[in-house]
């Protein structure tokens, strides 16, 4: 078995496909995947949020524990949430934070629906959003996370998935 759930490329592909679908349907942004790779716990130089302005994060519990995050530069987040509401935003406010949280919520839910038939199940928590220049999120030293890179007309953005190792459930 892979050391990390997302070492299985098909699971990574599920998260990529869901992210593209959610962003296109809700924001109108034509998003493309530009790669993915695993990050070890001590790879601080690869901390995905450290050069970003707003991050939505949602925890997994139950069958598998972990989290998924979605992180944007300010201008990308403003355009994404602006696309959701058909409005123009000038700064990160209550609605932008709420919208980014809702996007990560939909990505987590969509991925769960794709992974359930493969014997992987987890419960979703309520999403939270952190904003501010160069904010930093820490993961356990032992955590192996999978970072997904995306491009869009509104700018690049990233997702990161962390799921603790567990035995696959029988189908």
């Amino acid at each position: 078995m892979s050391k990390h759930l997302l070492g299985n490329e098909s699971f990574t592909q599920d998260f990529i496909e869901v992210t593209i679908e959610v962003l296109f349907t809700m924001t109108g942004l034509d998003v493309e995947s530009s790669g993915f790779y695993e990050i070890e716990g001590h790879s601080q130089g690869l901390d995905v949020t450290s050069c970003m302005d707003i991050t939505g994060i949602l925890g997994f519990s139950g069958g598998r524990r972990g989290s998924v995050l979605l992180t944007f530069k300010e201008e990308t987040a403003l355009k994404a949430v602006g696309g959701m509401l058909g409005m123009e935003f000038k700064e990160i406010d209550y609605y932008v934070r709420d919208g980014v949280g809702e996007l990560v919520n939909m990505i987590a839910g969509g991925a769960k629906a794709k992974l359930q038939p493969k014997g992987l199940d987890f419960e979703l928590s309520i999403p939270n959003t952190i904003s501010g220049p160069a904010h930093k999120l820490s993961a356990p030293d032992s955590a192996v996370r999978t970072r997904l890179d995306f491009t869009s007309p509104a700018g690049i953005f990233f997702a990161e998935i962390y799921l603790q190792e567990a035995v696959l459930l029988p189908l």
């Binding site: 349907t25 959701m84 058909g86 709420d98 987590a108 979703l124 309520i126």
Partner: protein, 122 residues
């Protein structure tokens, strides 16, 4: 027709209300969780509710709402797995929408529910 929109996300409530207004449904009340929804549910003809919410979630709200009325309820959720959909249907909802969705899905659900109730266009 009075419609109640329940979602802890202010953005999602705005998206829903905009879609309903554009479809001609302007009598809309909103609530941020199930408990607030129960307080505002008097006289509503149709409910769109999120599932995963703080304070009181969508399924708990549906169970309480069903104690007093059989008015149609559509649950809108990211929980689109087979297990979750079955659980929601057993709780007493009439239909469901999986996020992400486009605005016209909301209006087509209303039409479908009205036709089932015999109130839709011929």
């Amino acid at each position: 027709m009075k419609i109640l929109v329940v979602d802890d996300s202010a953005v999602m409530r705005k998206i829903m209300i905009k879609a309903l207004n554009e479809g001609g449904y302007t009598d809309v009340v909103e609530a941020a969780n199930g408990l607030e929804a129960l307080e505002k549910s008097a006289g509503v003809d149709l409910v769109f509710t999120d599932w995963n919410m703080p304070v009181m979630d969508g399924l708990a709200f549906v169970k309480e709402f069903r104690k007093t009325t059989q008015k149609p309820i559509v649950i809108i959720t990211t929980e689109g797995g087979k297990k979750e959909v079955l659980e929601a249907m057993k709780s007493g909802i009439n239909d469901y929408i999986v996020k992400p969705f486009s605005a016209n899905v909301i209006l087509s659900k209303i039409e479908s529910l009205l036709q089932k109730s015999g109130c839709g266009p011929d």
